[in-house]
Symmetry: C2
Subunit: 282 residues, 2 copies
Amino acid sequence: MIKPSTKFAVIGLGVLGGSYVQALSQKGYYCIGIDVDETALTYAKEKHWIQEGSTDSSLVKEVDIVVSALYPHTFVEWVKTNQKYMKTGVLLTDVTGIKREIIHDINHELRSDVEFIACHPMAGKEFKGIQYADAQRFANANFIIVPTEKNTNGAIQTVHQMAEILGFTKISELSAEDHDRMIGFLSQLTHVIAVSLMNVSDNTHLVDYTGDSFRDLTRIAKINEDMWPELFILNKDNLIREINEFSDELLRFRNLLEKEDTQGMKAKMIQSTERRKKFDRL
Amino acid sequence: MIKPSTKFAVIGLGVLGGSYVQALSQKGYYCIGIDVDETALTYAKEKHWIQEGSTDSSLVKEVDIVVSALYPHTFVEWVKTNQKYMKTGVLLTDVTGIKREIIHDINHELRSDVEFIACHPMAGKEFKGIQYADAQRFANANFIIVPTEKNTNGAIQTVHQMAEILGFTKISELSAEDHDRMIGFLSQLTHVIAVSLMNVSDNTHLVDYTGDSFRDLTRIAKINEDMWPELFILNKDNLIREINEFSDELLRFRNLLEKEDTQGMKAKMIQSTERRKKFDRL
């Protein structure tokens, strides 16, 4: 379990990593920051979010819990190169947006005296960089723990406790398979739709007539192009299936319109209205 | 032009019609309400939004400006049956969400001593009924005047003035062709996408994991199933083309993912991000 003396290292001080050290340091925990970018380290130090910061990962030898806030492939590379610095018994966790492949790859690389427990704090942002870090966002976001049969109960309880310290109130567990299927639909498909809607044609001349509907559907078309293609490829099977199923549904609607089938369109709208009501926030 | 003594009749006291009589009466104008539903009339009378209300359209004989807030086909039927009651020189306007066909049909039916000027207040709501009327919404919404070569300058100026009285601040003019093309993309396509996304499969078990992205994209999947199929069919050419173009773009993205073309996906995301920035509210 996490004690007041527990020390953390966060690898990668971007939006999420920055928010982690912000929340942990504000609760009084000792935090180390590792980043290739000196300016991110300086920013975190000036905010007093980290006690020490370095571009040199050997600093993690001091800590009990290591959080990777890196992009997936960089995370795997980091483990290969730097796991030698971690103390025996360290708990390693992450923030990666897809889970099956990262769990497989990390467990394949990792020393047997270090335990990796996968987590997904669903609190991303369309902007890159620690200057957009804001741990306030955690309060309304989901924190998903993705344990495998390799994980100990102690590790699961520890990241649960960490999520509470970070400020998350909605904390749950999912299998890697269920997690990736859920993300493929709720998050990845929606981003593909928004990006595609924005890219259909240059409709920026319509800005004066644009109301909330179009703005709502395209808000997430502002997207981190360095991260998402990697996440999409790592969940390709799920996302391709979701795009195909959505595309089929779209064309079914088009065919109802083509036939001027008012009753058919009505039935679709009644169903979408009923289902969407269940997603209203209470 | 509209004078303090100008009398209005609003036909159809739903969300929009209700908001019209609310705004007009609050500015001191004499308003009559016509509706088939007695409870809507009672509601408007109790709120002092109308001076007189009736299920009998002959009441419009008293007024100078008649606003139809009916669904498209009902509007045409109303004109056929009830135009005999309108005074010579009356200005007839509407709130219909598509314009080419309604302008053609109304002008085809209408007496030559009454002028019809088409308008589209883009301030709809997913709920039906006068209890959802709220003229406050007009302040941030677009009011589009859709004049034809048949319209007089006086009529255009009068509805412009009416839009200001109603509280609209963004008032513009478009041709019926441009209006319907714009609506096909910004409004109708987005509703088809939201409805289809909600209908792909029953994903209501995912509600606990749902963040803002999915909620934003499906908010308008709660939709008035009595009105929209009619509007879609009346703009079928534009909407079918928009669905096809969007579907093609979606499949182009899917093919990039299929090939694991990171650079291709990045380019799409950079373009969508740049374009979307232009739609940010200032």
